[in-house]
């Protein structure tokens, strides 16, 4: 609550500053502080970017097949089609890019969801995205006989989008529009309904089992690269929209009333955020299956590092999430050679204790 009050105070302060056109007395101390905080955050971002680069390199260097650094280097600069070259260029690079994209998408979407719903335990799945994608995949397998990742990726994306539209539509009914509570309730109800349909089809015809079960294991391995290429434009648009929503989320975090009185179009901000979440998570879930916990944890880590200003939380999340996801993936690759552990399993193992600590903390961050 203190943070909230401090934020609204500083906001009021800056509004006053902006209105003070007469007698522009410079306030060097305050400005200096603001710039210094900004610099520090910039510096933090730069450090994260460097860490991310290292993680990307690690993801290309380490895997269940042991390659020497020189071999990895050669794959880029002296390519001759050897097995090592194929592994690096054909598997690790696409997989790393997949992890990078999915990580960015999950990190941004998680932050947006927590910001829009002002719910510290919200994850991107709250809009019914995963449930919608799961149902669509199982429908594709059952009724259209599509059991190829290239075929069902569009179903997954479409299902994710359709489910979120329904959740948002249900939540926006009534006088106040899509309030956080209504969003959470509608999301839970629609998710339960979609999950029931999925189980129904699943139980009625287990032939869909294999398609669904492999899809439902969130993994970056053996996923063809072309679906990502096809869906990349959606992800990019979603990411740009998400990053531009920082100021809007800041105002929204004061509460709907305050936000409205400050001239914020609350409904519009929410709808834009929801659209960005659909683009981001729809893509992520379609190309890699459901990966839990990344979208939930990362915003908390980002807030712990940079404070509550969404203009900073969003870019921090966008860097932290791929770092977490790719680190988890690298761990999964090297702990069980010659096989691998799926990244969703590793993130769940890392995420569960974090989640328990989070909900047991006396003071959840007030959003």
């Amino acid at each position: 609550m203190d943070a909230l009050r401090a934020r609204s105070l500083s906001l009021a302060q800056s509004t006053r500053d902006a209105n003070r056109t007469v007698a522009p007395q410079p306030q060097p101390v305050q400005d200096h502080g603001f710039v210094r905080a900004g610099r520090r955050r910039m510096f933090g971002l730069a450090i994260l970017a460097v860490v991310l680069v290292f993680v990307l390199l690690a993801s290309i260097t380490f895997g269940s097949e042991h390659l020497r650094i020189a071999q990895v280097y050669d794959a880029f600069f002296h390519y001759n089609g050897s097995t090592a070259d194929t592994i690096v260029r054909g598997l690790r690079v696409p997989r790393t890019l997949l992890g990078l994209s999915v990580g960015i998408a999950l990190g941004l979407a998680g932050t947006l969801m927590q910001g829009v719903t002002r719910n510290p335990l919200a994850d991107p799945g709250i809009l019914g995205v995963n449930a919608g994608a799961a149902l669509a995949v199982i429908i594709a397998a059952r009724f259209f006989g599509i059991d190829d990742p290239l075929g069902y990726v569009w179903f997954a994306f479409g299902g994710a989008a359709a489910a979120s539209v329904v959740v948002y539509g249900v939540a926006s009914r009534g006088p106040l529009g899509a309030t956080p509570v209504k969003l959470a309730l509608a999301g839970a109800a629609v998710t339960a309904f979609l999950a029931a349909l999925t189980s129904g089809i699943f139980l009625a015809d287990n032939s869909t089992l294999n398609v669904y079960i492999y899809w439902a294991v969130g993994s970056l391995s053996g996923r063809p690269a072309s679906p990502l290429v096809q869906l990349l434009p959606f992800l990019l648009v979603g990411a740009l929209v998400a990053v531009s929503l920082g100021p809007g989320l800041n105002v929204l975090s004061l509460g709907d009333e305050a936000a409205r009185s400050l001239g914020q179009r609350v409904g519009l901000t929410r709808a834009t955020s929801a659209a960005a979440v659909v683009l981001l998570v729809g893509t992520a879930v379609a190309v890699a299956g459901p990966i839990a916990f990344v979208g939930l944890i990362v915003p908390h880590v980002a807030r712990a590092v940079t404070g509550h200003d969404y203009r900073w939380v969003l870019p921090y999340s966008a860097l932290l999430a791929p770092i977490l996801l790719l680190s988890a993936d690298v761990i999964g690759r090297v702990i069980a050679p010659p096989a691998e552990i799926q990244v969703s399993v590793v993130t769940a193992v890392i995420g569960t204790p974090f989640f328990i600590v989070l909900i047991r903390r006396r003071k959840l961050p007030q959003l």
Partner: protein
């Protein structure tokens, strides 16, 4: 082999969802009965002791059996299936109450009760002797057993398939008209369909782990409910050594199914059965000759699965691949220890490789999993390490029946295909 191995823990998922449904009372009651059934069969070190079914509390003695047969109209059976949980619990309870007395009296009673009251009996590989008043005519079998039996002329009234009938490679080429679909996914038994099929006998296989239910069932309570509908016969493919999990080759296991088939009225002297046996021998000779002509040609059996990796089969634990080895085919033996079958079931039959390790075991000819669970060869094109395999580049891939058909007729076709592929294959490693 049995169909749920290699499906990458699918059964454990199904099991997880189903065990929750198990009635705790039933589970508790099961304990003593299982001990009663199992103890004599496996404590006697190799030699199989025959446990008369009449000794076991749930087994129908032949007298009541014939009585029951009159009483059970189909409607009545269906009703029973629908009300299984109650009736099972009650029966089990009575059964266990009686079991103490049965154990004491077992030795004396068995001979006198058996005498004269049964015309048909078969002792399965658990050591359970199923005795019936007449030779069972209406058979329901697990898909692998069904294909083994149908191919020697034993008709089925129902099949417990581990995937939809149309997609089950074990069922292709069989006449399935009028055959009840008892399950279309592993362990997904529809008890009503089973009861409506009015089977006299259910045929399945023994799970090598022995601790769980029989093959085709994902939990003991379903197996028990099926047992209420008809007695179960379980065939074991670990004919060489049960304790070391040494499977017999495909001939040994098929012969065992033929024994059962003969007991069920199959005419093994029928022209097509004899012809199938002859074809099998000829095809075997072709493979032997082809292999001898291509020294150094390595063959690998595997399947690739989305997001999981590549599973390379251990030929020692697959009756068909074991037979290929006996014919001289140089089958790739993956590394790593098969480990404990009870701890890691899949690892016992396969070694799992990541896609990065696709080229770990060089091979000239690939036998590729033909079930719907494996990635299509087309979608595998997206995996560059796979595309780079010499055998893949040379197009030297043929389908592999991961679910062994224990039928000389079907095996003959596969052997013929293998011989042709070996003849055509170039050594590329």
């Amino acid at each position: 082999l049995n169909s749920h191995r290699g499906l990458v823990d699918l059964p454990s998922v199904a099991e997880g969802s189903l065990t929750g449904l198990m009635d705790p009372i039933v589970v508790e009651v099961l304990g003593p009965r299982r001990t009663l059934l199992r103890a004599p069969a496996f404590s006697s070190g190799g030699g199989r002791t025959h446990v008369n079914r009449q000794n076991c509390p749930l087994g129908r003695s032949s007298g009541p059996r014939s009585h029951l047969r009159v009483a059970h109209t189909s409607a009545n059976r269906t009703a029973r299936a629908m009300d299984l949980s109650n009736s099972v619990t009650r029966r089990e309870f009575l059964g266990v109450a009686a079991s103490g007395a049965v154990v004491v009296l077992a030795g004396r009673l068995s001979s006198s009760v058996t005498k004269g009251s049964t015309d048909w009996s078969f002792t399965d590989d658990r050591g359970v002797k199923v005795s019936l008043a007449t030779q069972p005519k209406r058979i329901v079998a697990y898909d692998q057993a069904a294909s083994a039996l149908m191919n020697i002329g034993v008709p089925m009234v129902g099949i417990m398939a581990s995937m939809p009938f149309g997609k089950d490679p074990l069922l292709t080429g069989l006449n399935l008209s009028g055959v009840a679909k008892v399950s279309q996914a592993y362990g997904d038994i529809n008890l009503e369909v089973l009861a409506a099929a009015q089977p006299d006998l259910i045929v399945t296989e023994l799970d090598p782990r022995l601790t769980g239910p029989l093959i085709g069932f994902t939990n003991k309570s379903t197996q028990d409910q099926a047992q209420q509908v008809a007695p179960i016969v379980a065939i074991d493919y670990y004919t060489k050594s049960r304790t070391n999990f040494q499977t017999g080759d495909v001939i040994a296991v098929t012969n065992r199914f033929e024994q059962l088939g003969r007991a069920l009225g199959a005419n093994l002297q029928a022209p097509d059965v004899v012809a199938a046996q002859k074809n099998f021998e000829q095809a075997s000779a072709r493979v032997r000759a082809a292999t001898a002509a291509k020294p150094g040609l390595k063959v690998i059996a595997l399947g690739a699965y989305v997001g999981v990796g590549i599973q390379v089969a251990r030929p020692q634990h697959d009756p068909t691949l074991l037979y290929y080895q006996e014919l001289g085919v140089d089958m790739v033996e993956p590394g790593g220890s098969p480990g404990n079958i009870n701890k890691n079931y899949n690892n016992f039959f396969f070694e799992l490789l990541s896609y990065e390790r696709a080229s770990q075991y060089p091979a000239d000819l690939i036998l590729y999993d033909d079930t719907v669970y494996a990635m299509s060869l087309q979608s595998l094109d997206a995996i560059p390490t796979w595309k780079d395999l010499p055998a893949v580049k040379a197009g030297q891939i043929i389908p592999w029946r991961k679910l062994n058909p224990f039928s000389f007729k079907v095996e003959a076709v596969d052997l013929g295909r293998l011989a042709t592929a070996i003849n055509k294959a170039k050594i590329v490693t």
